[in-house]
């Protein structure tokens, strides 16, 4: 099985955010909000870091 870098990021962020959301909050609504927040941070952080690396190289 092969997977793209971005595909790996999306899958990692999805599964990790689900567990973080469930375990770090008590209220179901807050679980969803925190899970979504973690997902955005994981994916957004990776994209930002990628651009920083691109800028360093160029």
């Amino acid at each position: 099985m092969t997977i793209s870098h971005f595909g790996a990021v999306l899958l990692f962020a999805l599964f990790t955010s689900v567990v973080f959301g469930i375990t770090q909050r008590s209220d179901p609504r807050m679980m969803i909000r925190f899970g979504a927040f973690c997902f955005v941070l994981f994916v957004g952080g990776t994209i930002a870091a990628s651009w920083v690396m691109w800028l360093i190289k160029h």
């Binding site: 099985m1 790996a8 899958l11 990692f12 990790t16 567990v19 469930i22 375990t23 008590s26 209220d27």
Partner: protein
């Protein structure tokens, strides 16, 4: 003078929270299932199982007990967090002994993180069982 004779929550200890902790570690989501948190248990179980299987599919490495490099020891501890999945992987000789392709490193990390997430989930189930976490 009013006296409060109610026992603190910690004094009402039983083996149930410990069983929840151990079950949650051995089988992903089992701790939440024991507490009748069906949706949470299912989501945790599917997430951790999917990460573990994806890790194996990406030809990730399963670490064996070692006393070598510190990172290898830590990765082994992470792998061990998957509980029975780790035992099955070792029994059926799943995973690679050494990383051979570049993307396999993703697989290795997926397996380690699956173990770490499982430990977090087991501790969460234990907190629910003891009442330290509200719901």
């Amino acid at each position: 003078m009013a006296t409060n004779v109610s026992a603190p929550a910690s004094a009402q200890s039983s083996t149930f929270p410990t069983m929840v902790l151990i079950a949650g570690w051995l089988v992903p989501g089992a701790g939440h299932f024991m507490l009748r948190k069906w949706i949470r248990g299912t989501l945790i179980s599917v997430s951790i199982l999917a990460m573990f299987v994806l890790g194996l599919a990406l030809k990730g490495k399963i670490y064996s007990p070692n006393t070598g490099d510190l990172l290898d020891v830590l990765n082994f501890a992470g792998d061990l967090g998957t509980g029975i999945l780790y035992v099955l992987a070792r029994l059926f000789d799943l995973g690679q002994a050494a990383v051979q392709v570049a993307t396999a490193d993703y697989g290795t990390k997926f397996i380690v993180v699956a173990g770490l997430l499982n430990i977090i989930s087991a501790v969460d189930a234990h907190s629910l069982a003891t009442g330290r976490k509200r719901s």
